[in-house]
Amino acid sequence: MTLGPQGRALSGFTVELDVYSGPYEWLLALILKEELEIFEVPLRELVDLYLSSRDPASADSLERDTDFAGSAAALVLLKSRTLFPAVEAEGVEDEPLSPEELAERLSGYLKVRRGAEHLRERFAANAGHHPSAHTLPARRGRQRVRPDALSLAARRAFSRLLEPPVDHLGPITVTLQELAYLIRRALARGPVSYEDLTRGMDRMNRAVAFAAALSLAQEGHVTISQPEPLGPLTLAPSR
């Protein structure tokens, strides 16, 4: 599976996501250029969009499916990589946290997460209000456009088109299929914790196992629950 320059089979496929709308190929480019955080791309939605746009009767449908499956699988793996602490090392934190500080921070995060749930309800309850369209044009000469905002917008719009280098991605050596099989087998005996499932695995395999679990959850085979931050992750077979 590669994210390299691909055939043109997917050139007509466009996506409409919360974080991005436009050609699918550019979405890949943005992710590779780190303009879009892979973590924010809802892969399940992406797959749904592809499936709904799929025309099995078209001449290149096989080619399209192959291209999409390849790039989507690579996205899953890329996404799993963001779960490595090592990947984050250069970013957010300089110094290791004491357990006390970490507890403080997690409590803060838990509050924010509850705040986010509250906001979701507020947005939903207020959706469907459309404002009046009977607006008057602003008086001439009163508008302001910031030149620096224009420069930024130019950069953003014009740099989107360049295909990013992919060399730094390196080879990926584990297969999702193997891990999916492993998870299914473990689940045959009932719910299993992520901890138990990945005992003995190296970091790469643990992360990819997580990606595999996510894929299975997205396909509806598995339910993943983690009621609280830092709480145990439990995988259960879906009913």
Binding site: S11, V15, E16, S21, P131, H134, R144, P147, L150, F158
Partner: protein, 206 residues
């Protein structure tokens, strides 16, 4: 929530249309029958009558239109003088940057560079007087209009001419620039229009 009554549906649709809406369009949006629509319009013409309301329902150009009561025009005009213009969205800035640096450009050209259909953004910018049609691209099928930035745009940015902006070469790499130019020159390959603008609360955000 209980089912809205016919006049509620019609009044909601009237609020979001700046142009008169014909009877048939009202019916197709609301799903009401001809009789229901007529009856609701009678109720609404009474409710939004110039005698009692600051918002009036008028029958114009074969359709129905809400507008302000002329008796209130002084207040409306004063509000327009004093109101702060709505800020521009990120999409609007991008469309302006495309036209400023690559223009004059057709609507399709802007959409091609941005990768999303930009018609709604462009309409908003024309209404604001920041973009204007300055001719037509005779080489393209249908001779679509070419857009350029306006004097109003220059005034809004505090620039005296388009030369006052940083050169494109300072903003993007030569490779990026070449890609953008390529993109502009290719005739729309698939014939498909780019996707509509994403959920960006364009223009009037609420």
């Amino acid at each position: 929530m209980s089912e809205p009554r016919p006049e509620q549906l019609i009044e909601a649709v009237l609020l979001v249309s700046p142009r008169p809406i014909g009877n048939a369009d009202l019916r197709s949006a609301t799903g009401l029958s001809e009789d229901q629509t007529s009856a609701a319009l009678v109720t609404l013409l009474e409710r939004y009558s110039p005698r009692t309301s600051g918002i009036v329902l008028r029958e114009v150009a074969g359709g129905y239109l809400l507008s302000t009561n002329p008796s209130c025009s002084a207040a409306v005009e004063r509000f327009r003088e004093e109101a702060r213009p709505a800020p521009l969205s990120g999409a609007a800035h991008e469309a302006l940057a495309c036209v400023l640096y690559l223009g004059p450009l057709t609507r399709a050209g802007i959409s091609r560079v941005r990768g999303v259909n930009s018609d709604a953004v462009v309409r908003n910018l024309i209404e604001r007087g920041l973009l204007a049609e300055v001719g037509a691209d005779r080489e393209a099928p249908g001779s679509p209009a070419l857009l350029a930035v306006t004097d109003e745009f220059l005034a809004a940015t505090g620039a005296s001419s388009t030369a006052d902006f940083p050169a494109l070469e300072e903003l993007v790499s030569p490779e990026e620039l070449a890609r953008v130019r390529d993109r502009l020159l290719t005739t729309t390959g698939s014939g498909e229009p780019p996707p509509a603008e994403g959920p960006s609360y364009e223009g009037s955000p609420y």
